[in-house]
């Protein structure tokens, strides 16, 4: 930063000397936050399509009762890999990609704080996922024990390929830890003068908190898979009751990672819609301070609610009560966020471009997922909901029209800034409506199948669940294929979209909109002056 303040050259001029390398090496050896952001985003789009294909195989098999296309053993591999690929391959890397692209531009920095580590943290991922997906073609098949891989199904009773799965999870964890260290270092050290913490855009705030969550729980995940590795290969009995271990301990450790993980996938989404809704409401975000406090409270609570995933495992009454109360408490800060978004829209001057449509759908459908979450928190009622399709409906509502919609909204919103070209608004809206209708047809009926008693993770079901499964499968295919349209809209914009202005959106505020479109290769080569008008939108 001190270097930049010495020569006062315009950013555009600087760009001349430090453009990207050409060819494949640009992507292999890049240390540029934008290139790495692009790699992350295309990688997660590829994973979305692969994970989505597995989902469609599942929905095709569940279209009718009876076994039609695949055998139960393969079905279990599909559910397991669908979950793992979507969580670790699609949602998480997409948010890291957004962070890479946006944090330096939002904070007034030239790049991320640790660019070489940034390169490493991305390039681990393709290897990790190649290894994990390759297990599907190994003798004995791939992981078939659910994405939560409960012992002893994932240890004593696992296929031989489980060792590759463990190593892949270690690599994903290493990548996430490096990514989060980089994000923390960037946010705490690279802010332009005048960009105080309480002036940061909310996307930056939510990512700062998310990065700390990642740093806290990814080592726990690494620990639990290492204990599995030892149980499988080195004769320990961490999770084997016959050797003095405890299978339930696995679940405690897993969910101590797993519940914060849920918020890792939704907090940056909160950040994204908190940027988009003010822009298209042409009105500042309502209750900025309370949004920051609410995000922090959710992050704190996420560490003390893990056993609500285990209400049926057999806990003492006091334990059940504690985890029930703590879980219900999460509704309070989450509610505050929803109320603030609506107050932001209230008496604004709204327009409904594609990013806004996805953001509004996010608020509505995420709230529905929140409602079913509140129902699940009631421990006695959870005895009926637990491990049924009601749970499947719940977490898909917060992850698909929740996390995924926010990512899609973010891509539409910032794409003109990234590539300097607009997307086709008409096609964007068609993509939105197909996705919105598809996602609801897919997941809303699953509430009913769950309440009526359909367990999750079954390849075949009793006849009374037939109608809703058929509807759900139709919705899944509509939703799945409309994401191909998303890919087309993106490529069309990048190749032949009309030129974007630097502000792009009438109501946009924030440092990234002061840069030209497309943004220069090194965002801010000397720090901008942060004025109140461009502080948090």
């Amino acid at each position: 930063m001190s270097e930049a303040s010495h020569h006062h050259v315009p950013a555009v001029h600087d760009d001349h000397h430090h453009g990207p390398a050409s060819g494949l090496t640009r992507w292999l050896f890049t240390t540029n936050h934008k290139d790495i952001g692009t790699l992350y985003l295309w990688f997660s789009f590829a994973m979305l399509l692969i994970g989505g294909t597995l989902a469609l195989i599942i929905r095709a098999e569940l279209f009718q009762p009876g076994l039609q296309f695949i055998e139960p053993e393969f079905f279990n591999q599909m559910t397991t890999n669908h979950g793992l690929i979507m969580v670790f391959g699609a949602i998480m890397p997409a948010f890291v990609g957004l962070a890479n692209w946006l944090l330096p531009m939002m904070l007034g920095a030239p790049d991320m704080a640790l660019p070489r580590m940034n390169n490493l943290s991305f390039w681990i991922l393709p290897f990790a996922f190649s290894m994990m997906i390759s297990t599907l073609f190994m003798e004995g098949g791939g992981p078939n024990f659910g994405w939560t891989f409960y012992a002893p199904l994932s240890t004593t009773y696992a296929p031989p390929s489980v060792t590759f799965f463990i190593f892949a999870v270690h690599m994903m964890g290493a990548s996430s830890i490096m990514g989060s260290i980089n994000i923390i270092a960037t946010i705490l050290n690279m802010r332009a003068p005048g960009m105080t913490l309480m002036r940061m855009p909310l996307f930056v705030w939510t990512w700062l908190i998310t990065a700390y969550l990642l740093l806290a729980v990814m080592p726990v995940l690494a620990g639990v898979v290492t204990m599995m590795l030892f149980d499988i290969h080195f004769g320990t009995s961490f999770f084997n009751a016959a050797g003095g271990g405890d299978p339930v301990m696995f679940q405690h450790i897993f969910w101590f990672f797993g519940h914060p993980e849920v918020y890792i996938m939704i907090l940056p989404a909160f950040g994204v819609v908190s940027q988009i809704i003010p822009t298209f409401s042409r009105k500042p975000l309502f209750g900025y301070d309370s949004m920051v406090y609410a995000t922090s409270s959710i992050a704190f609570l996420s560490f003390i609610v893990w056993a609500h995933h285990m209400f049926t495992v057999g806990m003492p009454l006091a334990g059940q009560l504690f985890f029930m109360y703590a879980t219900m408490l999460i509704a309070v800060p989450t509610g505050v966020k929803v109320f603030n978004w609506i107050s932001t829209m209230w008496r604004g001057s709204m327009t409904f471009e594609t990013p806004m449509l996805f953001s509004i759908a996010f608020v509505v459908l995420f709230t529905i997922g929140g409602f079913s979450g509140l129902m699940l928190a009631i421990a006695p009622a959870d005895y009926q909901y637990h491990d049924t399709y009601f749970v499947v409906a719940h977490f898909h509502y917060v992850l698909v029209p929740g996390a995924l919609f926010s990512i899609i909204a973010a891509v539409y919103y910032w794409l003109p800034k990234w590539c300097g070209r607009m997307y086709d608004e008409r096609l964007g809206k068609i993509h939105f409506w197909l996705s919105f209708i598809g996602v609801n047809i897919t997941f809303f009926p699953q509430h009913f199948s769950g309440l009526a008693g359909m367990p999750r993770r079954i390849p075949d079901y009793a006849l009374q669940f037939a109608d809703f499964n058929m509807i759900s499968s139709i919705g899944a295919f509509v939703f799945g294929f409309s994401q191909l349209l998303f890919g087309y809209v993106l490529i069309k914009a990048i190749v032949s979209g009309r030129k974007a202005t630097s502000r792009v959106w009438e109501g946009a505020h924030g440092l990234e909109w002061t840069l030209p479109s497309p943004a220069p290769y090194h965002s801010f080569t000397h720090p901008p002056k942060v004025v109140e008008a461009e502080a948090h939108s």
Partner: protein, 377 residues
């Protein structure tokens, strides 16, 4: 397939009109126990709270989307914070939550009141079946049996018409008396399973090495169905729970018959059977306990589930064969069937495996061989 679709559509629309059958597909069952009714009440209460809050929140949003749009010439206001509002919408939900937590706590305390039972049944989960053990104070009146799904592979593979209780029927259901407090002790022999009867409002994991307890008092006789609800491997979707609730006198008669069957079973252990009898009994045991992994054609699903046709074990020394079935293979899915089958059943199934799918050893395995081998060590 097409005909099936049409049929279901027709059934669906009839149900819509009549209302009752459709309701089963839409909501949680009210159930037949005090606990299940309380849970249903909690479920509907919290659901209604969500509906009301949802109407307010989405209503405000809809009004805003309609009125405050640029195309209607809306001019943006500039307000962006209100401490009063933030406090209100923090405290109000908190109060609603407390109001909901109180009855939920009450029901949970009731559920945990497991004492004062009239009888005890031990439930063991196995891949992929349930074992029910009736524990009586008098040892001679104890017995146990396995409960396997009775839906056929033909129904599953769409070869024959599906029964109305498709996937939800078993060969021997759990039988309990009406209006008595039954306490269940729940554990597992392999991976984690979960035992669930929606109509009773009870679900609990069966964890290997741990004993969980559950209880119920059912106030209407009838047959109630549920399923395993914890992913437990390949046939997780095929291990239903069926409970038959009988009036006291019917239950007593059933119990007496079970005790008698148990006595006959113990007597069979000292009998000598003909080869035909062994093959018939062996086929029955194989179809119940072995077919899921080793398959009807004896070819298995290698490498996880090896074939038996032409295998070294099935053609080798009979003692090693018996021992493998009895003790299982630790660290694999091959269970120790000595815990599940008695000597007569073990002898029959070993004999069957040695004389099927082209296997043909010229020996005959009798219950006394199994007993001798196992006592000899």
């Amino acid at each position: 397939m097409n005909k099936n679709c049409l049929q279901r559509l027709a059934v669906g629309s009839i149900a819509l009109v009549s209302g009752s059958a459709w309701a089963d597909e839409l909501n949680m069952p009210v159930g037949v126990t005090e606990i299940s009714r309380k849970i249903y009440g909690l479920h509907m209460d919290i659901f209604m709270v969500c509906v009301v809050v949802g109407c307010i929140v989405f209503g405000a949003m809809a009004i805003s989307i309609f009125l405050h749009r640029k195309s209607r010439g809306a001019v943006p206001a500039t307000f962006h914070e209100s401490t009063t509002l933030e406090i209100v919408w923090t405290l109000l939900p908190a109060i609603i939550l407390v109001v909901m937590a109180v009855p939920a706590t009450g029901v949970l305390v009731d559920i945990y009141d497991a004492g004062g039972e009239d009888m005890v049944v031990e439930i063991r989960g196995y891949q992929w079946k349930w074992q029910y053990k009736y524990l009586d104070d008098d040892y001679n009146r104890n017995f146990d049996f396995f409960s396997n799904m009775s839906t056929t592979q033909d129904e599953i593979h769409n070869v024959s018409v599906k029964d109305q209780n498709y996937l939800l029927d078993v060969d021997k259901p759990l039988v309990i008396p009406v209006n008595r407090k039954v306490r269940f002790l729940l554990t597992s022999e392999d991976v984690i399973h979960a035992w669930w009867v929606p109509d009773f409002g009870i679900k609990r994991d069966a964890v290997p090495g741990m004993v969980n307890e559950l209880w119920t008092i059912v106030d209407q006789s009838g047959t109630y169905r549920g399923q395993c609800t914890e992913l437990c491997g390949k046939d997780h979707g095929f291990m239903p729970v069926v409970v038959k609730v009988l009036p006291q006198d019917g239950y007593d008669a059933w119990y007496a018959a079970q005790v008698k069957t148990e006595r006959a079973r113990r007597e069979a252990l000292s009998k000598t059977f003909t080869a035909d009898e062994l093959m018939a009994e062996g086929q029955r045991v194989y179809d119940t306990f072995c077919v899921a992994c080793h398959q009807a054609n004896g070819k298995g699903l290698p490498p996880a589930f090896p074939g038996l046709a032409g295998s070294q074990v099935a053609l080798g020394p009979v003692d090693a064969h018996i021992r493998m079935v009895y003790e299982g293979v630790p660290g694999t899915s091959m269970q120790a069937f000595g815990k599940q089958l008695d000597a007569a059943e073990l002898a029959a199934v070993v004999h069957f495996e040695r004389h099927s799918w082209g296997n043909n050893t010229d020996d005959v395995t009798q219950p006394k061989d199994v007993i001798a081998l196992m006592e000899g060590q």
